[in-house]
């Protein structure tokens, strides 16, 4: 079945990075997220699992206000980042997204060079004063994205020319280049082959040392492999949230159990 989860005793002691309370999301007339409350810890990989259409991606997109770009989407309830409400009207979503970066389902490198893809975020946020600064950031980010060795000789080749797995690692490197505190990943491996998936999963495990990572995945094996905490969503409800090992071996809710054993989903 799936690998036995890496149980870490220290998980519970980590401070809370994002705290959501009674979050509701409406898409027009559809009630997409119902009363979700969850505390996402820092320096931990948290996985959102659940059948398709359960609202896990929608909830993820609330965490950096990507839902703002959709007109008919309405979010109520509190989502606190380090104790500050991100839906407060003083918050500029642009500034928020610099702290809460995002990686998408399909690799979406800009039609620019590899270098410019990485430099894009630091440039718009003004993170580099000189060209040399920028060079340092680009190299550091590509190393963090575990793709430096593959692209260091062709930094000025177009990013769209890379393979799917490389493109996704480039997108992760691009996201970490802005020095975010949280990294949201929306099914980052669903468009990749098994080898590329393994590379990205290894990378996610590395990233946990510096960021809070939230990953949406449709693969339970993946959740078991990379995450320390797992949240199970069903029909817009957060059914169960806990340590990954506990969720997979000893689920409390019958729905979670049905899903894990393959009866729903």
């Amino acid at each position: 079945m799936y690998d036995s989860p890496a149980l870490e005793a220290s998980v519970d002691q980590k401070e809370t990075k994002i705290a959501a309370k009674d979050v509701q999301v409406h898409y027009g007339d559809t009630h997409a997220i119902k009363d979700v409350s969850i505390d996402i810890p820092a320096k931990t990989v948290t996985a959102f699992i659940g059948p398709s259409g359960c609202g896990k991606s929608t909830f993820l997109r609330c965490l950096n206000r990507m839902n703002d770009t959709i007109d008919i989407c309405r979010v109520t309830g509190d989502i606190l980042l380090d104790g500050e409400d991100i839906y407060d009207k003083r918050v500029d979503p642009v500034q928020l997204r610099a702290k809460v970066g995002m990686v998408f389902q399909k690799p979406n490198p800009f039609p620019k060079s590899i270098y410019d893809n990485i430099a894009y975020g630091p440039r718009i946020h003004g993170l580099a004063r000189t060209k040399a600064d920028l060079d340092v950031i680009v190299e550091k980010s590509l190393r963090r994205g575990a793709i430096w060795d593959e692209v260091k000789d062709r930094l000025h080749a177009p990013g769209t020319g890379l393979s799917g797995g490389q493109q996704q690692r480039l997108c992760i490197a691009r996201a970490v280049a802005t020095e975010p505190e949280v990294l949201l990943m929306d099914e980052p491996c669903s468009a990749l082959d098994p080898i590329a998936t393994a590379q990205v999963e290894e990378l996610i495990d590395e990233l946990r040392h510096k960021f809070a990572v939230v990953i949406v995945t449709h693969s339970m094996q993946q959740a078991a492999r990379v995450s320390q905490k797992t949240a199970f969503f069903h029909l817009g409800n957060l059914v169960e949230f806990g340590d990954t090992g506990q969720i997979f071996t000893n689920p409390q809710d019958p729905r979670t159990e049905s899903y894990i054993t393959g009866r729903i989903g």
Binding site: L81, E84, D85, I86, D88, R90, V91, D92, V94, Q95, L96, K99, I124, H125, G126, K140, R143, R144, A146, W148, E179, E202, L203, E206, L207, H209, K210
Partner: protein, 448 residues
């Protein structure tokens, strides 16, 4: 794998509840950028508004015309000296013979109204159109028994008087004008007060023919409208069947090979060839080579057909493509031939789309001017409406846009008014056609 944990944590802790300076700057840039967009839209809409305003304010005047109503005594002694009412004899009296009657009519009118004017009767009669005497003569020739009676006749005022009543001509603007004097304008004022000179709706502008460049007040767009009508008839009868046939072949039957590719590239390029090039083609092929008559709506129609075909083919292909393959499969499955499936099922379903495309193509052709200039459909060429279909197709005529160009070229404010008025009529046609197209599209739009 690189050790990521070694990178130093350098970013100072910031609150997301305070907007930092850089974000403020970026948001200002954002607002500026958005403002450019709004400015562009506003500029576009403003220009449209100015254009429509210009057209209406300059053109509406053409639908009104100044007329002078007088009682004219048709003296037998002048018009039919023999008194036999013989039409041939009466015809011998030229328009010069009628001019004195007009002067007399003015003198009598002034006497009747007990007006004081220093003008000679010749100058009073000069406020009429140059065609006044000819109009009166035609009236008499229509029914010679009118000779000897006094008739009430409504004359066109000349374009200066018309302009004066419409505010186009002022006392300042006529300082160097030989055609009219301040005293004559005073006289016009008096006649207006007496109700003799009046501005009324001018049906002749809509149904009449063009007039020579001395008589803008008599010019109408009706005959040119007939020219346009016959051209559109040719375009419709040729472009629709040919365009539909070509589209059916390309969409339903054509094999994928280089010839089909060539035809397709050709059609999309023909759609972007300047219209004047089609005019050159028409001149060289239809007139110089095939010796079709010059200035004929038939030739204009042929040229516009070639020009409109690509538009119709492109839109027809789009509507054929929109019919789902399942319809074709259903027909073929019942044993219909490919040809029958297309003509019995696909074509009727695509018909609304084809019709919409055709109307839009026709509207484009209706407004086209440049090719018509080259095949001679300009100038003062037709003074009567065609009386049969073959005359409509073959006798020289103009078309609405070409007539507008002709008036614009005469460089005289009274003709400019005509040109703007013509544009209003042309735009009414175009708006109607496009509205029908939009309604058709909305009404029959199908979602498969």
């Amino acid at each position: 794998m690189t050790d990521v944990s070694q990178t130093p944590q350098n970013a100072p802790k910031t609150s997301i509840h305070t907007v930092d300076a850089r974000t403020k700057k970026r948001n200002a840039a954002e607002r500026r950028f958005k403002a450019y967009g709004i400015a562009a839209i506003t500029a576009g809409l403003l220009v449209l508004l100015v254009l429509i305003g210009t057209i209406l304010s300059n053109g509406l005047g053409a639908f009104q015309q100044t007329f002078v109503t007088l009682n004219v005594e048709l003296l037998e002694s002048k018009l039919d000296k023999k008194g036999e009412r013989n039409l041939e004899d009466i015809k011998k009296v030229s328009t010069f013979g009628y001019a004195p009657l007009l002067k007399t009519a003015f003198e009598e009118k002034v006497a009747e109204l007990e007006l004081e004017t220093g003008l000679k009767s010749k100058d009073m009669a000069a406020i009429l159109s140059k065609s006044a005497a000819a109009d009166l003569r035609n009236h008499v020739l229509e029914d010679p028994s009118r000779i000897g009676t006094t008739v009430e006749f409504t004359f066109l005022a000349n374009s200066r008087v018309d302009g004066y009543l419409k505010g186009r001509v002022t006392r300042e603007s006529i300082a160097n004008d030989k055609k009219i004097s301040a005293a004559q304008l005073d006289f016009v004022d008096m006649m207006v007060a007496a109700g003799v000179v009046k501005k009324t709706f001018n049906i002749d502008f809509i149904i009449g023919a063009d007039a020579s460049d001395q008589r803008p007040e008599a010019a109408g767009i009706g005959v040119a409208m007939m020219g346009s009508f016959f051209m559109m008839l040719v375009v419709l009868l040729l472009a629709l069947p040919i365009g539909v046939a070509a589209s059916i072949y390309l969409e339903e039957f054509a094999p994928k090979n280089w010839i089909t590719d060539l035809i397709e590239v050709n059609i999309s390029n023909l759609a972007a060839v300047p219209s004047i090039v089609f005019g050159i083609l028409g001149l060289a092929v239809f007139i110089n080579y095939m010796h079709l008559p010059q200035s004929a709506p038939l030739v204009g129609g042929l040229v516009l057909t070639l020009m409109t075909l690509p538009t119709i083919i492109i839109s027809t292909r789009a509507s054929l493509k929109a019919v789902p393959p399942s319809i074709r499969d259903a027909a073929l499955g019942l044993g219909a031939s490919k040809m029958q499936s297309v003509f019995h099922h696909v074509l009727p379903l695509a018909a609304p789309g084809i019709l919409t495309g055709t109307i839009i193509g026709l509207a484009q052709a209706l407004g086209e001017t440049a090719p018509l200039l080259l095949i001679g459909m300009i100038g003062f060429i037709a003074s009567n409406a065609p009386d049969s279909i073959s005359a409509g197709l073959l006798s020289p005529n103009s078309a609405m846009p070409a007539q507008i160009y002709e008036w614009a070229k005469r460089a005289e404010p009274a003709f400019y008014e005509r040109a703007w008025g013509g544009i209003i009529i042309l735009l009414i046609f175009l708006v109607t056609m496009n509205t029908i197209a939009v309604i058709l599209r909305r009404r029959f739009e199908r979602r498969w």
